[in-house]
């Protein structure tokens, strides 16, 4: 009974670790800057949208910020290769 409990807990832990690993690889992997950057972009847009008058401006700013994030991440990859 105790062994069965321990086995079940160990299996659950393994599944949980695999689940966490999947999401870590899926979202962060070797490009943590994209995750952090995307959160920052959404944060900036959220801040702008607290003022009703800036909601349309935020729509024009969003692709600019996302494009800058892409360029920065590609630039980082190129720099990493060069070094």
């Amino acid at each position: 009974m105790v062994d069965a409990d321990r086995d079940a807990r160990s299996t659950a832990r393994r599944w949980l670790a695999a689940f966490g690993h999947f999401w870590w690889e899926f979202l962060i992997g070797d490009t943590p800057e994209l995750f952090v950057g995307a959160v920052a972009v959404i944060g900036i847009l959220a801040l702008l949208c607290t003022h009703t008058g800036l909601r349309t401006l935020a729509a024009y700013l969003a692709p600019v910020l996302v494009s800058l994030l892409l360029v920065a991440s590609v630039w980082k990859a190129v720099r990493r290769r060069a070094s």
Partner: protein
């Protein structure tokens, strides 16, 4: 109401294209593994592995998708799912840009096929049902399909009205098309322009991600859903400019520095 009715098909078309291309790319990769298994270990267990993986993937969509649509508020769903799509799409787009510029090796289906065949030939032969063939085929289809499941659930559940069924149908259609082509040509699809497809999917995921995460924080998009194709065009231009700039940089390497080889998988 009129604006919504006129712009809804645009969103649906971009959604179907994104899901179809994403599913096709992943299924081409899965087909390479399945063909390697079938050729070296026999088809019965390989196809059973494929069927089991597809059933689990379909069950995941059916179990996770509808509860998300019914129980989670749309604005919260769009914020979280849009953020996920944005990160995921940027990862695809970044890789596609680096590959298009020649700074990262392209996905080589021929090499992966040869590698899989060599590995499978080393495994001891099976009598009756082949557990190795089943497991390798299952894992290949399941792991490649998992990304498609995430795309189907996120894109399908955040549309308004929900287009989960449409997204799932587009993914299934891509799986069927790739499967049939594989069956007809009976070899891995190394001629498929995978990187161009990945670039297209990346552009659409980033566009949907930007649109929905921004809607989640109440950004007012001019033209409503019509902003999505505009975003695709914007990001496409940025990606093209990046590739061109990187190609020009690559033909002028720093003195005394050799070009480094890129990665092959992923």
């Amino acid at each position: 109401m009129t604006l919504l009715a006129s712009t809804a098909p645009t969103g649906a078309l971009v959604l179907v294209t994104a899901v179809f291309l994403a599913s096709a790319v992943e299924m081409v990769e899965a087909l390479t593994i399945v063909l390697a298994v079938g050729v070296t270990r026999g088809w019965r267990s390989a196809l059973e592995g494929v069927a089991a993986a597809l059933a689990v993937l379909a069950a995941l969509v059916a179990l996770v998708g509808p509860p998300l649509v019914h129980w989670v508020p749309l604005s919260a769903l769009r914020l979280v799912v849009g953020g996920l799509l944005l990160v995921f799409g940027l990862q695809w787009l970044r890789k596609a840009v680096l590959r298009a510029a020649g700074l990262k090796a392209k996905h080589d289906e021929d090499a992966i096929f040869a590698e899989q065949v060599a590995e499978l030939q080393e495994a001891p032969p099976a009598t009756g049902r082949d557990a190795t063939a089943f497991t390798v085929a299952f894992k290949g289809v399941f792991l490649e399909g998992l990304e498609v499941v995430v795309i189907v659930i996120t894109l399908g559940s955040t549309s308004h009205p929900s287009r989960l069924g449409l997204a799932a149908a587009a993914a299934a259609a891509a799986a069927v098309v790739v499967g049939l082509v594989g069956l007809v040509v009976h070899r891995q699809l190394s001629g498929v322009p995978e990187n161009a497809m990945k670039m297209g999917v990346g552009l659409m995921l980033v566009s949907f991600g930007t649109f929905w995460s921004a809607e989640g924080v109440h950004v007012a998009w001019p033209g409503s859903d019509l902003a999505i194709p505009v975003l695709v065009a914007c990001y496409g231009t940025v990606a093209w400019l990046l590739v061109e700039a990187l190609k020009r940089t690559a033909v002028r390497p720093a003195p005394g520095r050799a070009a480094a080889p890129g990665a092959t998988h992923g």
